[in-house]
Amino acid sequence: MKKGKILIAVGSVIAIIGVYFLAFAILPAEETMDFTIPAGDYYYAISYGGLIGGSVELNFVVADGAIKAYVFDEDQYGEYSTTGSGDYLFTTSGDSGSFSFVIPDLSTYYVVFDHGTLSSVLSQDVIVETTINGVALVGTVIGVAMIVFGAVLAIVGMRMKNREIPTVAPSNVQTDVTIFQGQQQEPPGQV
């Protein structure tokens, strides 16, 4: 296979993968998580970050007892992880519930699921359904970069392909185009 065709193929594949990256970065992402908060002084934290115009919707169901859910920014989470208390952006509690919050900037925000007041002696199974809206910055950059890179490769490949000598064997084809062989004193070879 010629280099030009190879470049076109590789560029096209990279561009297509880039489109998928971009789609994943832009389209809402839904995910269901099933986790256990062990008995004792444990909690479960989920982080969200790097989103432009982001928001997160969560639905949770607890198998045994109630839990508390918090939304923290980075500083608040740092304090909570150290002291087990502190300020928060949002909180709710119960054996099931739903809430959503807006991610105003690219920094990281945390959703923490902790034992309810009387539930710390229990190992609690939690199912959380999340829908993440917004544009993932990293995914978008990677996707766009791959599309551009793939397109450039394909264009370069097309140019190379156009410059490649045609595969038709000239000696087998009569075209009346005369290529003179060697020095001009020699008789012309018509192909």
Partner: protein
């Protein structure tokens, strides 16, 4: 360094002010010489109009024949009817398949330093066309082969930098 004949593309049609002109293109190591083979007076015919005009235009066409393997390139270049493009002056080269056919375009600088362009269409000689037809080769295929061979001729004759930057879409 002696000028060396490299190739001949037997038929290139260039649209002139007075109608299309048929050239044979002699490619040497130094220059491209468009040698006037047939000058249609279609422009005059168009002024006269109708079938009479067309008939007159056809009658006024003059056919020449050149033996490119033996004729002196310098003599051809001196002939004012011919168009001579020094390869050193070529700025850009294109050979593209278009709706109208395989279009050849040369951008170059003339002796006065003025940028000029020369655009023409590759055309299969009638005799070859008839031969191909008798062999069962479709005209499209024959034209494609002719264009590819013409491209090879151009690539052999023109400077590598021009060939490298040329636009080939055939």
């Amino acid at each position: 360094m002696e000028e060396r004949r490299v190739a001949v593309i037997p038929r290139v049609i260039v649209q002139g002010a007075m109608g299309p002109k048929e050239y044979g293109l002699l490619l040497t190591s130094e220059r491209s010489i468009f040698v006037l083979e047939k000058s249609s007076k279609a422009g005059i015919g168009a002024v006269l109009g109708g079938a009479i005009g067309a008939a007159i235009a056809d009658a006024m066409s003059d056919k020449k024949s050149k033996d490119y393997s033996s004729c002196d390139p310098s003599a051809l270049a001196r002939d004012e009817k011919n168009i001579c493009v020094s390869h050193a002056s070529v700025i850009h080269l294109e050979l593209k398949k278009k709706l109208s056919g395989y279009a050849l375009r040369l951008n170059y600088t003339d002796a006065g330093g003025k940028q000029r362009k020369l655009a023409g269409l590759l055309a299969i000689p009638d005799s070859l066309s008839a031969k191909k037809k008798s062999e069962g080769v479709k005209s499209k295929r024959a034209m494609e082969e002719y264009a590819k061979m013409s491209r090879q001729a151009l690539e052999l004759a023109l400077p590598p930098i021009v060939v490298q930057n040329a636009e080939w879409k055939i």
